[in-house]
């Protein structure tokens, strides 16, 4: 691929104040238009790695460059970076005191300085895209988990980011709601959105990912296109992991 690299992480290390190593020498590059899925057992550091990409998690060594912004640099302009990197959380994290529409228009208005009408127009288009046009005036607590997560995706999209990070977007959902969220993500992938996804949904990884990454104990152990990753796993630890989850 000749697409530019959007996320470049080199030898990233995260050591917690208590000395525990959360990430050790993790390196990863994500190109524009790519869908990269990160899998691994819980506690393997996959969410931590993802959260370093928008500076929610500070790193202790190595370097991260996202869309031209050096995150490891002193005084890195995190705000400018976060406007370009969307994030979808496991717990949705919608703003409970705002309506769905206000959730979507808050940042575009306050950060991008869009006018009210521009922001609303953009928000309504996105709600239509995630199939929730009729919920604009509802509060998050009036929606199901799946609907809330679709709103959260729309909220991230409203900033028109270069890449969206998904941190276990379906893990907090009832099983019957997982499909609707994955469907929206799949649609985004087909439209060429750059995505970095931490998930336990192996079916989604196999069908949508360009590359799948396996992490264990804070390390990236292997990285392959889905066919090779699932059908001919190279690493012993990955083989035993796949035996357990598939």
């Amino acid at each position: 691929m000749t697409n530019p690299v959007l996320i470049e992480a080199k030898n990233v290390e995260k050591r917690y104040p208590n000395g525990v190593l959360g990430l050790k020498t993790a390196s990863l590059a994500v190109k524009a238009g790519e869908v990269v899925v990160i899998v691994g057992p819980s506690g393997s550091g996959k969410s931590t790695l993802l959260r370093t990409f928008n500076g929610l998690e500070a790193i202790t060594a190595g370097e991260i460059v996202v869309d031209g912004h050096g995150l490891h640099e002193r005084g890195a302009d995190l705000r400018a970076l976060r406007q370009r990197v969307g994030m979808v959380f496991q717990q949705f994290n919608l703003f409970p005191h705002l309506t769905v529409l206000e959730n979507l228009t808050l940042a575009p208005r306050k950060v991008l300085k869009l006018s009210e009408s521009e922001a609303v127009e953009r928000a309504l288009a996105l709600l239509k895209k995630v199939g929730l046009s009729d919920k604009a005036e509802r509060y998050p607590s009036q929606l199901s988990g799946g609907q809330q997560q679709r709103v959260a995706i729309a909220r991230a999209l409203a900033m028109q980011p270069a890449v969206i990070l998904f941190d276990e977007p379906t893990s907090a959902l009832d099983p019957e709601m997982v499909g609707e969220v994955l469907e929206v993500m799949r649609q985004l992938a087909t439209e060429g959105m750059t995505m970095c996804v931490v998930t336990h949904e192996m079916g989604f990884a196999r069908a949508v990912a360009n590359r799948v990454i396996f992490m264990d104990a804070g390390e990236i152990l292997c990285e392959d296109p889905p066919a090779a990753f699932f059908d001919a796993p190279k690493h012993e630890r990955l083989r035993s992991f796949l035996r357990q989850v598939l």
Binding site: N54, L78, R79, H97, Y139
Partner: protein, 316 residues
């Protein structure tokens, strides 16, 4: 027996116990040879005393036949003066009066000393509350600030104020700061109460902010909001709902604490009560009345806040 019936029986028991307590107090008061004079209290709530009309110079009173006109002529010279607006004439036709003597009274119904005191209590509490909220917000934000200097200053303020008695603070403000800055007693009272209550409000604000899940901050930051915007549009609106109930309690405390400003030359409800006691010698009736008036004030406030809470809760 149904559940509701049982509940009403328990309520009835509570009422009966309170009634028994009241009767006990009544019987006890009978034994100490105290004459209750409740009839004296109303005049200190509503005053019908009216204003004095005084003679402007030495002279003789002239009252018309029908008693509807009152005037006087000077002792020396031909000066005359007509009195208007009087309702009671305290002198007779032909009386010799001297300058400054009260010759009649107007018939004005006005607030008595207790109501005047209540008004001052209300005014000083309301004004102090406004400043206390401002101080509390500023120092509460200081407590959770990323800046160590802001955190230190806020912690210092809260610890110093919460660690010293309000009465001592009032003396310091009145005698020291009030003298240095030439504050009136009222201003000194507002300063003392606002600074005192502000420290508690700061802790309430801090607790409210910290109770908002950290995930909300992360979500706000991940869409690019700045720290100030996150606080303003995401954290504070959610914290407000949690802050409201303890804030109501603190406001009620403020009203009650305001009784301590009576040690300065301020005639608030408590000081008015003390003055009325010294002129009636009916301490029991007066203090019960004063307590009831405070209760009325705090009761209205807590009902108002409960309404507000309900409105906030309906957003969930």
């Amino acid at each position: 027996m149904s559940n509701t019936t049982t509940r009403w029986l328990w309520h009835a028991l509570a009422v009966a116990l309170l009634a028994a307590l009241g009767t006990g107090l009544y019987i006890a008061s009978k034994r100490i040879d105290y004459t209750w004079r409740w009839e004296r209290i109303p005049q200190y709530l509503i005053s019908t005393e009216g204003e004095d009309l005084k003679a402007p110079f030495d002279g003789f009173i002239v009252v018309s036949e029908d008693g509807k006109q009152l005037s006087m002529t000077a002792m020396r010279g031909s000066e005359t003066h007509d009195f208007t607006g009087f309702s009671r004439i305290l002198s007779n036709n032909g009386d010799l009066v001297f300058e400054g003597d009260v010759v009649a009274k107007t018939d004005q119904v006005g607030p008595g000393p207790l109501l005047v005191g209540l008004w001052l209590t209300l005014k000083i509490s309301a004004l102090s509350l406004v400043f206390a909220l401002l101080l509390g917000l500023v120092f509460g934000l200081g407590r959770v600030s990323k800046n160590p200097a802001a955190r230190d200053l806020a912690a210092f303020y809260v610890e110093v104020i919460r660690g010293t008695p309000l009465l001592v603070q009032i003396f310091i403000v009145y005698f020291f700061i009030g003298t240095v800055l030439q504050l009136s007693a009222f201003a000194a009272g507002v300063v003392a109460l606002a600074v005192f209550t502000g420290a508690y409000v700061a802790e309430i604000v801090r607790a409210g902010i910290e109770a908002v899940p950290k995930r909300q901050t992360e979500a706000a930051q991940s869409v690019g909001l700045s720290g100030a915007q996150t606080m303003m549009y995401v954290i504070l609106p959610q914290a407000t709902r949690r802050i409201l109930p303890p804030l109501a309690g603190q406001s009620i405390n403020l009203i009650k604490d305001s009784s301590l400003v009576s040690v300065m030359a301020l005639t608030d409800l408590t000081k008015a009560g003390r003055e009325v006691v010294s002129s009636t010698f009916s301490p029991f009736e007066v203090w019960f009345t004063v307590a009831l008036m405070y209760l009325l004030l705090t009761g209205v406030l807590s009902v108002a806040v409960r309404r507000l809470e309900k409105r906030y809760a309906s957003q969930d």
